[in-house]
């Protein structure tokens, strides 16, 4: 017996360019372009920009990029709630802080903490927040006052668009303990194995803070070559990526002569 169709809608799929297709969603699967994927077998899901469009990446053995047009959010939310995952009913507050500053308009939401092979998710009817495992920073417990009571919460830090975000999770303490261990294991798997020196920790902190290379050199009293060596190590450890290569120049005789002219002109 065929499954009840919940939604049938035109969409686009990326296959050497964006091509029209039809998407059919039933209670247990999604079908598009001759591909049927069981919802529970979706390994990862993400909203992103792809080939010039807002797209949804669906991973089942390989990645599929789809654009659901005006149905994008609706379908994304539906799939997020049906992912193959370990799921825990929790209350969450995300983001609690962003870049070190408290986010004042954030509110506690009732939903799920969902853990897939590649990400953790905070899921509620109004929020489907995906945090890639590579972006997880730390997990720990803290005490917060919630509804006038002191409660132990899980504090999860993660990085989003270069900013460190903290989120809080509230659930029964036995679940909290288990979640902490679970997330800690995931974080440890992605952590660099080598220990950083004091100087390396300071440079990493400054890069995070947004201090530019010239200022780092001046603050720490290191040369450009030394700093480049630190940066190379960060790149090797997967802690940083190169976004710009600085150029240093020395004037040619022609350039030096021109500066003399400029000075003369200024003196006139």
């Amino acid at each position: 017996m065929s499954e009840r169709v919940l939604l049938k809608t035109p969409a686009e799929i990326f296959d050497n360019g964006w091509k029209s297709t039809e998407v059919v969603i039933t209670e247990s699967d999604i079908t598009f372009a001759n591909t049927k994927i069981q919802s529970r077998e979706i390994q990862d899901l993400e909203k992103l920009e792809y080939a010039g469009k807002e797209a949804v990446r669906i991973k089942k053995d390989r990645n599929y990029y789809l654009n659901f047009g005006s149905r994008q959010q609706q379908i994304f939310r539906y799939l997020a709630f049906n992912l193959k995952s370990d799921r825990f009913a929790v209350y969450f507050l995300s983001p609690a802080t962003r870049g070190g500053v408290v986010v004042k308009d954030s509110k506690w939401e009732k939903g799920y903490l969902s853990i897939t092979d590649e990400a953790i998710w905070f899921l509620s009817p109004s929020k489907q927040l995906r945090i890639s495992l590579n972006s997880l920073g730390s997990v720990g417990k803290d005490v917060r006052t919630i509804g006038g009571k002191q409660r132990v919460v899980l504090v999860v830090t993660h990085v989003e668009k270069g900013e460190v975000i903290t989120s809080f999770v509230l659930c029964p303490e036995t679940t909290l303990e288990m979640l902490q261990n679970y997330l800690q294991q995931l974080i440890d798997m992605h952590k660099p194995k080598e220990k950083l020196s004091d100087a390396e920790e300071q440079i990493l902190t400054m890069v995070y803070t947004g201090v530019d290379s010239v200022s780092i050199e001046s603050i720490l009293g290191v040369s450009t070559d030394e700093l480049n060596r630190y940066f190379d190590r960060f790149v090797d450890l997967g802690l940083a990526k190169v976004v710009k290569i600085r150029k240093e120049v020395e004037l040619t005789p022609k350039g030096a002569a021109l500066v003399s002219e400029i000075m003369k002109k200024a003196a006139r």
């Binding site: 802080t97 962003r98 870049g99 070190g100 500053v101 408290v102 730390s138 720990g140 803290d142 005490v143 917060r144 006052t145 504090v155 830090t157 270069g162 900013e163 460190v164 903290t166 300071q202 902190t205 400054m206 995070y208 803070t209 947004g210 201090v211 200022s215 603050i219």
Partner: protein, 121 residues
């Protein structure tokens, strides 16, 4: 231009904050490495705002905040804390701290918070 006093027991953190706040248009009038020095410097320098670390030797940030608020009930103090020190932050807010930033912080956010508090934004 708002005058800032930076209070932190780590030289590196003071340097970092100095750099960030200077580039954000603040006038760094002084630095203290513990709460006791902070109180003394507050009396002398009368800054418009100060960033105050919480865990420090001699006198911690909460005690220093208390002393400074006794001297000047309108003092604008922003607590600077690591993740997991919520109880202390709460105490600080009750004692009149105007805001707090959590380490590690990002420069634009710190500048934004201090500008908000000093009315520069």
């Amino acid at each position: 231009m708002a005058k800032v006093l930076i209070v932190d027991d780590t030289a590196f953190m003071r340097k970092l904050l100095r750099n960030i706040l200077f580039s954000g248009g603040f006038d760094i009038v002084g630095e203290a490495e513990n709460g006791k020095q902070a109180v003394e410097l507050y009396k002398q320098l009368k800054p418009d705002v100060m960033t105050m670390d919480i865990v420090m030797p001699e006198m911690n940030g909460i005690e220093a905040l208390k002393e400074i608020r006794k001297l000047d009930p309108n003092a604008k103090v922003v607590m600077c804390t690591a993740v997991g020190q919520e109880q202390m932050v709460k105490a600080a807010i009750k004692l009149g701290a105007k805001g707090y930033i959590v380490k590690p912080f990002q420069a634009p956010k710190v500048i934004e918070e201090l500008k908000r508090i000093t009315g520069m934004s």
